[in-house]
Amino acid sequence: MNTTTPPVENLGRGPLGKDEMAARVARDIEHGSYVNLGIGLPTLVADHLPEGSGVVLHTENGMLNMGPAAGPGQVDPDLTNAGKIPVTELPGAAYFHHADSFAMMRGGHLDTCVLGAFQVSATGDLANWHTGAPDAIPAVGGAMDLAIGAKKVFVMMTLFTKDGTPKLVPHCTYPLTGLGCVDRVYTDLATFRVGPEGATVLETFGIAYAELAARLDLPLPATRLS
């Protein structure tokens, strides 16, 4: 039986800060799952996984069970994450080459990947590799592989640009990274489910649902099937 659930409005508080967003994403990462955290904001999620979460981090340059960033005296130039930051190794780690690492992603073996974005469409299209500026030098790295490379793809971003333009949009205007690949969007103001049925709000932070809906240029049903 399908039931409908209205979004949870967390009022009496402001929007989420970066670390609160990271903590919110961390709450939705299953115990014992295999996760890739994209460069930038998503990296913060690692700090909010609970002790004993059993989450195993993948880095696409060829490692499972990556540990935290290397502290002073721990730096090894042969051991970095995908952002080329020196990291550490946890017990039970494994190293593999690039073709094997991306086979792992492309083959859908990661449970979750968390990515930053310039834009996400209501149907889950992702734009996070290129601003489309005519003089920009294109550089994709592993963005397209990550976009299609996990059972669940979470995006973590602020909901609006600095000048107030929504980043959750009816259709991406920036060049795409992947088509219909995003499942959830975690922002400072709200958490969304996106996909073939369009976007729905799961919860808001420091803003009422009605106001949020008014500021976004897309259909945003007040309830969702669950």
Binding site: E30, H31, G32, S33, Y34, G54, V56, H58, L64, N65, E89, P91, G92, A93, A94, Y95, F96, A103, M104, M105, R106, G107, G108, H109, L110, D111, I148, G149
Partner: protein, 224 residues
């Protein structure tokens, strides 16, 4: 997700459904997951498709599974052997379907399934009866045949040692199909001779990373 360390082979193969596609590791007896196959016989699933290099030897292991009539279809490279009498009898009686695939294509089709490749052009078998009626294409002056992935619902593999996270290493040529099948099935079950603590396997020497392994069970070292 976190690997499940099973108490016995029966627990390790629980839940297999009728009609499932089962990838079975091993080349001859090396790397053959005999205890898991025996448990699968006890478990009772039937109408199976089995993907394995051979179609069983003697009367045990895969041959026993075939002998019980549980296998509807077998995909393999080398069914006919001096001791494949169980398969031979079923085949000649029309009681089992056979798809013969060149050995390297069999491995590569499972690798493709595990690596998210939709299909690939292979030069193997071009111009032979095994490529008849199939899509071919000339690329840079050479002719290739289009091959599709083989994905399993279940993989049963024999490895040497696991840590408690599910990282696996193999022994010598018993490695054969195990690491490939581990990438190509929804549920991957490994029987091992030894389960060690996390951290006891050198991360540089892991062959099958834990992400691919769902269930492990320690069994006796298979008889030679």
């Amino acid at each position: 997700m976190t690997v499940h360390v099973c108490s016995d082979a029966d627990e390790a193969v629980s839940g297999v459904e009728d009609g499932a596609t089962v990838l079975v590791g091993g080349f001859g007896m090396a790397g053959m997951p005999v205890e898991l196959i025996d448990a699968l016989i006890r478990q009772g699933a039937t109408g199976l498709t089995v993907v394995s290099n051979n179609a069983g030897n003697g009367d045990t292991g895969l041959a026993a599974l075939l002998g019980k009539g549980r296998v509807r279809r077998i995909v393999c490279s080398f069914p006919r052997q001096s001791d494949s009498w169980v398969f031979d009898r079923l085949y000649r009686a029309g009681r089992i379907e056979l798809e013969v695939v060149p050995q390297g294509t069999l491995a590569e089709r499972m690798r493709a399934a595990g690596a998210g490749i939709g299909a690939f052009f292979s030069p193997t078998g071009v111009g032979t009866p095994l490529a008849e009626g199939r899509e071919t294409r000339e690329i840079a002056g050479r002719t290739y045949v289009l091959e599709y992935p083989i994905k399993g619902d279940l993989a049963l593999i024999g490895a040497h040692r696991a840590d408690r996270m599910g990282n696996l290493v193999y022994r010598k040529t018993a490695r054969n199909f195990g690491p490939v099948m581990a990438t190509a099935a929804t549920t991957v079950v490994a029987q091992v001779s030894e389960i060690v603590d996390v951290g006891a396997i050198d991360p540089e020497a892991v062959v099958t990373p834990s992400i691919y392994v769902d269930r492990i069970v320690r069994t006796g070292v298979p008889a030679a």
